[in-house]
Amino acid sequence: MNNNNTLSFLKKSDRTIDYDKNDRALFYYLMRVEPTVALCIACGACTATCPAGNFSSLDLHKIMLSIRRGEKVYIAKEITQCFLCGKCQLICPKNVNTRGVILQIISFLQSSQL
């Protein structure tokens, strides 16, 4: 038992983003339907202003980066916490249509689950 405990860190999953294995279909879909998604520079203004983020793990700039990296599981888990208030869109310096992006993510995830 003791041995198992000391080596427990080995059981943790690899933190590395394995870019070659990730599926970036969501990014290519968004580039087609909402190309402003590409303009995000991950400045973090959306995260700072997000009311939902104050009470949950929702972090839009991380979602935006994860779209490009193909981290679909993370996005699917986090996106449900957004209540579409649109404050992120007001503050975005690059004028990314954040609400549009989020709605498109939801519709993509729903259709790909079918």
Partner: protein, 341 residues
Amino acid sequence: MNTDIVVFGGGIAGIEAATSLHRLGYNVIIIEKETFLGGHVTLWNKLFPNNKDANEIVQQVISSLNNNITIFLATESTKIINNHNNTYTIHLNNNKIIHTKAILIATGYDVFNAKLKEEYGYGIYDNVITSDELEHILKQNKRILTKQGKEPTRIGFVHCVGSRDRKVNNIYCSKVCCVTAVKQAIEIRQKLPFSEAYCFYMDLRMYGLNFEELYNDSQEKYGVTFIRGRLSEASENIEGKIIVKVEDTLLGRPLKMTMDLLVLMVGMVPSKGTSWLIKELELNFNSGNFVSSLDEHTKSNLTNKKGVFVAGTASSPKTIDDTLADSRSAVLFIHEYLKSF
């Protein structure tokens, strides 16, 4: 031979200054080590940020040359003697000797030797090339191919190779590589529509007119992906592809991906001619080992030696626009100096 001014370097900085000085009525001699005029710009394809043909700039600058300006091609200086009466005697390797009142250093830069950054594998792996080499491929309108002869589907650009790097003693920013990477990524996406382009950067410095617009275009129209993080290493797999390891610092997680072609954005270092002239004329080095100006704000073209002037990238990395403006400013300093000679 007697002359008013000798211009070292027949790049755009040297030619622009020489023609302006000639129009002001001075005798000018240009000394160029290569067999052609125009310097680095003649080897480039399209220019940032507006996709202008580099040749157009060179032709525009060269067209104002005339027969009254003496040009020595494929010539280098072997010795310069300061006569201490405000004149200089220059010995050339074609056995000519020139007596001159003023010297303009327009000897520019060399590209950084990417082999010094061993961790990126330049000179070790076949599919790691420099931005300079990619520009020559684009200029010659050749197909972009990997060493295995296939069209690359994933191309990476590594920013700041040899710039902002204390490990190679270059603490300065080379100023043009960021926007060159954006420009080359767009060109690659235009030539190879089924490819993906990635830029690995520390900061993106889009300071110039229309640079930010080009950067926005690269993302929105061409889908170029920017990943903030400096490569820890590049390695080769059995197929000859390049595996890069980098920390995605915006997500705070390590990232690993395979590239078909890795392009190193090499910065500027003082050219051999620039370094030689600094030593020969006993000038001061600045923090980047370029020619030090007497005052970086108000006397940017003057040096610590009377009668020795500097223009273009011999004093610091510059864009083409800044180089030409700097040359014209040097001309005014020289004009004022020679007028009261």
